[in-house]
Amino acid sequence: MNLKRRLLVSTVALAFAGALPSFAAAEGTIAIITPSHDNPFFKAEADGAAAKAVELGYEAMILVHDDDANKQSQLFDSAIAAGVKAIILDNAGADASVAAVQKAKDAGIPSFLIDREITSTGVAVSQIVSNNYQGAQLGAEEFVRLMGEGGEYAELLGRESDTNAGIRSQGYHDVIDQYPDMKMVAQQTANWSQTEAYTVMESMLQANPGIKGVISGNDTMAMGAWAALEAAGRTDVIVVGFDGSNDVRDSIAKGGIKATVLQPAFAQAQMAVMQADQFLKTGATGLEEKQLMDCVLITADNAAKLETFALAE
């Protein structure tokens, strides 16, 4: 498995190294490294960044680390070896990614982080992250309102190594815990995964048939939970997600999942590329390293305006 993965990575690196001279755009190449595109959120990031890179005259090198810090490190090696001008990164772990970003910096390649923070400053040029805490508060306020300020509920947590899992959970509880009649009867991770959320929801429901609501750390888990609730004939349960995916938008439109919180992933990725371009041309972005982007509550009222992690005006 490990050997296979390594082989695959070197093949990818070779392909890029080989492709570079013939494809090289005027401005060089920007590497875009994200988690797996199985989650449409990360695909939207990669698509947004790639589109902007091409628009600005760069070649885009799209890579996925599958939330594996070792793989991410190898991808950085490949990108450095390929002589990319800049790296756009949605990282594979707040602590574990610092070394990789530092390695690129030492090689003279600036990194621009999106979506997830790392635990050091001064290593990346920009860290543009959604205000997950503010977003989680919005989701929780709506969840509490839908629950009539009381009742039993369950929480699905994201992957523990991802800082956003903890931030969102804290944001949820910052609001929900101010309501004494809201009773959390189950809290479990489903690692951002739809299939895992399905299984977790099934067992949560068996153990706690009185559940009235489920608050989920992201949309893919909300979809998994909703599928399990539908299978159990419990479509009365209130589900709230986070991300603003098209899947959840469609579910909201059909009266399934009740709400989600949009992270402007597409715009965020494009902004990172614009800042990279600015930095490469002028040596500075003119902005603070850490930049927050506000999230937006999505309900039946505005779901129709949502498309690929962007909200129409």
Binding site: V129, N131, N132, Q137, Q170, G171, P264, K290, Q291, M293
Partner: protein, 214 residues
């Protein structure tokens, strides 16, 4: 007004109390709070003592517009109104935050909730044009984002920054006296802050003072 001073004194007492607690558990008083999350409460408490009464309350009172003046300013666009009278929150897409002070008639009161609110008509047309949040659950971070002396880049991360927002909201709602009985139809005076992302959205005010006239 006397009541306000009394509540202010209470808040100050609570704040200094929590500071005492830190001395007790932290041991060494000269030691700075830990940089990680374990030091958040101590750091936020110190920041609150330093800024809430001495800086933020006066800043809100001094910069407050009347509802009519804010409406006039907003007619020229949110960006222009914000630049002239408000303060933008940190980051892209963040709201403009304004201070507001005025009077109006309570058109509706929702007091049987943890997020108590009064709907208020300030232009005399009989329909509410703003909502006063009486807490204890207060939405948003307008108090934090209105203040020029809290800057996101000076905080460890969004969690610590959010804790400040919550501490400010809690301090504000602790100052308020919730009206007894149904205040609908009565006159209310208020001072507070609000966050706007569009010039036409409903005004959700986080008040630092609310007084329902008898």
């Amino acid at each position: 007004m006397k009541q306000l001073a009394l509540t202010a004194a209470c808040v100050a007492a609570v704040l200094s109390l929590s500071a005492c607690k830190i001395v007790k558990t932290g041991g060494d008083t000269d030691k700075a709070p830990a940089a990680d999350a374990s030091g958040d409460d101590a750091r936020i408490a110190a920041l609150m003592t330093e800024t809430w009464e001495p800086k933020l309350i006066p800043a809100i009172t001094e910069r407050a517009l009347t509802p009519a003046a804010l409406r006039t300013a907003l007619a020229g666009g949110l960006e222009a109104a914000g630049t002239a009278h408000g303060k933008a929150g940190s980051g892209v897409g963040a709201a403009w935050n304004f201070a507001i002070a005025g009077e109006g008639t309570v058109t509706a009161a929702k007091l049987d909730t943890r997020a108590r609110v009064l709907d208020v008509d300030t232009d005399g047309d009989g329909t509410a044009d703003l909502t006063l949040q009486l807490g204890p659950v207060v939405k948003g971070s307008a108090l934090r984002d209105f203040s020029p002396f809290y800057d996101f880049s000076g905080f460890r991360d969004q969690i610590e920054f959010a804790k400040l927002g919550r501490a400010l909201n809690d301090a504000a709602s602790a100052r308020l006296t919730v009206p007894e009985g149904d205040p609908t139809g009565k006159t209310v005076s208020f001072t507070g802050v609000l966050a706007l992302k569009s010039p036409t959205e409903t005004w959700l005010v986080t008040p630092i003072s609310v007084e329902v006239m008898p």
